[in-house]
Amino acid sequence: MTKPFRMKIETQIALTFMRSRPKMTIVASLGVMFGIGMYIFMNSIIAGTNDYFEKVTLMSTPHLRIYQKVPRNDETILGQRLSDGSIPLVVNPQLVPTVTRIRDPYSLMDRLRRDPDLLAVSPQVSANLTVSKGSVEKNANLCGVDILEQDRMFDIASTLIAGSLRDQQQLTDGILIGAVLAQDLGVSVGDHLLLAASGHSSRSLRVTGIFRTTIKAVDEAKIYAHPEAVQQILQTDRSYVTELFVNVRDYDHLTKPMAQKLRERTGYSVETWEEANEQSLAGRVIRNILANAMIFTILLVAGFGIYNILNMTIYEKIKEIAILKATGFAGGHVVSIFLRQSLFIGLLGGVVGVLFGAGLSLGMSHVPIGVGGLSHLPITFRFQDYLLGFLFGTGTAFFAGLIPALKASRVDPVSIIRG
């Protein structure tokens, strides 16, 4: 060693103490490494799961749904006609049969499409009807949509297992049907189906494609058709639209304010995708709590590991601490030496832990699942998990070292040196 002590003296002593006990240093760093690695892995898999469920949800739910609510009985109208002191009394209130449609939908859509925050607007003409092939009859939920617009929202192309969107777009009497429904009816691409709405006319339409979303309720009942075809079956005019599906630019933050804005601007009811899927949001909250509990436990265990190892180090080095104090090191300098030691262990474990976490996440993302639409374990790689994992890990190491370091600073040199 030609040039000793290039660093601060406390740093040099801390590093030398660590080097002289390589096994201890490695074991302590391994504790931090596992803590940080598991933090990263747990967060990645939770984020991946959340992303997966969100994607599945958004494959069947638009960010915003604009629709006309069935009007409720409104007492204020009655109240206006009555004098003071009267009590309005309504017996056996009934819903008035009204058509729940969007009035003048095309000019409303034109206005919506000019909003830069809205990515896609898709009119829906939906009807519940029966679909039959020969003697087999099934209930179905018919959706009259522009299939390309709908595809931009729900990525229908990726769920197609037969046929193509191009055929559906080009054939005015074409329909896309769910895989389970197709199986129940025993039809394949090119076959004709008879669709009949109660109290309306019926029409024969041709299957141009079959899709599988893995959501059973959708796969066994959903049928996509051209809006005109649905309007014909329902015997309504060309501007009959039951609801509008809207996708916004930033669905994490923009849906709520945008829903409020559209409610005020159009007067219709607007439902966000979060409101439509509250149960999956509850699942997300529970997953986050579980993950945090596990991560906290892992970091706590790693912290205890560092605490133990530093305590042992201090017990071993107690004579050296005494001599340092005798030769002019104050309590604060001794604290500084051992805090540096735990910080270095934290940094070492942190760097290795980030790599370990990345490797573990990458490895686990190849584990096959094969249930529903999941081919592999869903893992999302987010920079923030790595950064926070590193900070939490080194922070834990630092605080775990604080108590032993303070203990070291209180070593009484006289009692140690005299034996």
Binding site: M1, F5, S20, A326, T327, G328, H333
Partner: protein, 223 residues
């Protein structure tokens, strides 16, 4: 002229089930450039006295002045700083840091004091090691040299900050007669050539006899 050390009525009681008064009012004065030995039987309180005089033990009654400064009542951090500037220690066991080289061991107190640039400290440390005849051991680990050499490195470390007073707790207690002779000559040289004050506790009557003055402690009093 100020004294190197002036202790007035130092008393020390060990508390416990049976409180025991180890020091019963000791007063003593050391002039600058004096080489003083403290002797006495085991348990007479001579080591207790040395640790009080060296500021490591602060639980005592009486007052202590070192190098003209009252150290009684100073905080632990102030005392650490004082030791760093004015005192050097040599113990019965060398107490070197085994994971560092001899050179590094000598440099550490000077780096703590931080009064000089590193290059100068390294040069001074090397010089001290050569003065004590262990210059060629500088780059070896402190745990890898012989006992006599370790004690000489420890003396070099005690001298690195140019202390006014050098304190020893049986510095030759663990050495053979040849090394004892070497250490004594070194101490004498420090006093004669550099005008330092040396205060050592010793069991060795030969060592005590050859120093300038002998203080004998009997049952917690100076005889």
């Amino acid at each position: 002229m100020t004294h190197a050390l002036q202790a007035t009525n130092i008393q020390k009681t060990f508390s416990g089930a049976e409180p025991f008064q180890a020091l019963r009012g000791i007063s003593l004065t050391l002039a600058k450039g004096e080489f003083v030995s403290i002797t006495g039987k085991s348990g007479c309180g001579k080591s207790t006295l040395l640790y009080i005089l060296s500021t490591l033990d602060t639980a005592y009654q009486g007052t202590l002045h070192l190098c003209g400064e009252q150290v009684t009542g100073q905080s632990q951090d102030q005392l650490a700083s004082f030791r760093s500037r004015h005192l050097g220690f040599v113990f019965q066991f060398h107490y070197l840091l085994p994971d560092f080289t001899c050179l590094e061991n000598v440099m550490i107190p000077a780096l703590r004091l931080g009064a000089k640039p590193i290059a100068e400290i390294e040069h001074d440390a090397m010089e001290k090691l050569r003065l004590l005849g262990v210059g060629e051991q500088a780059t070896k680990l402190a745990s890898k040299i012989s006992g006599g050499q370790q004690q000489r490195v420890a003396i070099a470390r005690a001298l690195i900050n140019d202390p006014a007073i050098l304190m020893g707790d049986e510095p030759t207690g663990n050495l053979d007669s040849r090394n004892t002779g070497i250490v004594f000559d070194l101490f004498q040289g420090i006093v004669r050539d550099f005008g330092k004050t040396v205060l050592t506790v010793t069991h060795d009557p030969d060592f005590a006899r050859r120093s300038d003055r002998v203080i004998e402690v009997v049952d917690g009093c100076v005889n």
